[in-house]
């Protein structure tokens, strides 16, 4: 092996990755070549320098938080087959944004899907637990001065769980949680603004009204506006089920507020 041949193998030689069959020739060359010995030394010094760099560890609180998330995820995964098998529950989250929207609706939908996933993983997603729609409406009114329409989906097997106020992005929002089976679904509502025109998705018509459908993170979303607010539903349920819930909420609001 000459210097050029050795240099072509310099990196794997120093990294201990040179083919064993080539090692004897490389070593034999090094014995009598000071220049290549110096090359090897320089390479080793660079590696040593890099290995001397401070090595950060994951912060303990992050480690603990991650462990918690994984354990919750494990619990969810464990019950999921049963949930799917019996189709025993669904959660519907009604979300009302309290402030005029500053961000595009498409990213709002993504935020809400993320929120929904997060709340699905906590022990008690409802801040105010009640199966009574008027009680949840009253809670929102007293707690945040919000006129939230809480539809009664019980005839369709959708059980009200309660409500929650939360942050969505940099805005305050309210959620109403329902259950139907264990298939999760969320509904959100945002005061109508310029963003109403920014809603994206495939346009579908249901009982004479137009809706926009869009998939985010594996969840189906249905969105619409009634002129006063933008509404949306997020779920792993079928679009048919979402549209039916959307239609009911739309009727309830029209009845309540004449929208």
């Amino acid at each position: 092996m000459n210097c050029i041949e050795f240099e072509a193998r310099l990196q794997p030689y120093v990294d201990g990755e040179l083919d064993v069959n080539e090692m004897p020739a490389a070593n034999a060359h090094l014995v009598h070549c000071a220049e290549c010995q110096a090359r090897v030394e320089r390479e080793r010094q660079l590696r040593q320098l890099l290995r001397r760099q401070p090595r950060e560890s994951a912060p303990p609180e992050f480690r603990a938080q991650l462990r918690g998330r994984i354990r919750r995820s494990a619990r969810l995964a464990a019950i999921r087959p049963w949930l799917v098998g019996t189709a025993a529950a669904a959660a519907v989250l009604l979300v009302v944004s309290l402030l005029p929207g500053l961000r595009p609706a498409a990213s709002l939908v993504t935020d809400l899907v993320s929120k929904h996933i997060t709340y699905a993983q906590i022990e008690q997603p409802a801040e105010f637990a009640s199966q009574d729609p008027p009680a949840v409406e009253a809670w929102f009114r007293q707690r945040a001065g919000l006129r939230v329409t809480v539809s009664d989906y019980s005839p369709s097997g959708i059980r009200l769980v309660g409500g929650r106020l939360a942050e969505v992005g940099d805005r305050k929002a309210a959620y109403v949680l329902y259950e139907k089976g264990h298939t999760l679904m969320s509904v959100f509502m945002v005061p109508a603004s310029a963003r109403s025109g920014e809603l994206r998705g495939a346009r579908v018509s249901y009982r004479g009204h137009d809706y926009l459908t869009l998939e985010r993170k594996g969840y189906n979303t249905v969105a619409w506006t009634d002129g006063q607010a933008v509404f949306g539903l997020v779920s792993v349920l079928s679009y048919d089920a979402l549209l039916e819930c959307a239609d009911k909420l739309r009727l309830d609001r029209a009845e309540r507020f004449g929208a």
Partner: protein, 193 residues
């Protein structure tokens, strides 16, 4: 009868097999994002993804490389979603970024590394590594900071071993040159003739 999964067993197994590599994932994420909050978010997403796909992990194979692959894919996905250009080989990027004319990547002659490598500051190594293109930085970090083998790196960055070797060679050569320049700036070594 329906057999209930045992979530405790599953998460414990994941913790014992995968989460022992959390520090490596965390450091790698820091090098990818240069931002602690983003790094934590990236690691969390990668770990949850890995946990969900843990049944696909073949016990006895390399868990560290498997996790790093997931982390990297998640990072690239975010880059794309953010509308950023995703690197490919890095060679074109180097030229665009006006990286100094690295002569033959493998060649190191004529540089007084023996002198400056002794005096380089941690901050300089950090700066020099950050100045590398992503394609070169990631292989250098995986090899020289995390100690992965060529084969493991090839798995993580999804390219042939030969490509890993050439990127490593170029990356290290660029790093050496950048460190030399920083050392000269600090006056540790005289201008090379």
């Amino acid at each position: 009868m329906l057999e209930w999964a045992r979530p405790g067993d599953r998460s414990r197994e994941f913790e014992e097999t995968a989460l022992v590599h959390l520090d490596t994932l965390y450091r790698s994420a820091l090098w990818l994002t240069h931002n602690r909050a983003e790094a934590e978010d990236l690691v969390q997403e990668a770990c949850l993804r890995a946990f969900r796909g843990f049944h696909r992990f073949n016990p006895g194979t390399n868990c560290r490389a498997w996790l790093l692959t997931i982390l990297r894919n998640e990072f690239l996905k975010r880059l794309k979603q953010g509308g950023h250009e995703v690197f490919d080989s890095g060679e074109a990027g180097d030229r665009q970024r006006g990286a100094e004319s690295i002569t033959d990547a493998g060649r190191t002659r004529g540089h007084p590394e023996e002198e400056f490598l002794q005096t380089v500051l941690h901050g300089d190594v950090d700066r020099a590594l950050k100045a590398l293109s992503l394609a070169h930085r990631e292989v250098v970090i995986l090899a020289d900071l995390e100690g992965l083998s060529y084969k493991e790196i090839a798995q993580v960055v999804d390219c042939p071993i030969g490509t890993v070797m050439s990127r490593l060679s170029r990356g290290r050569a660029q790093l050496r040159q950048l460190l030399g320049r920083l050392a000269r700036e600090h006056g540790y070594v005289k201008e090379a003739e």
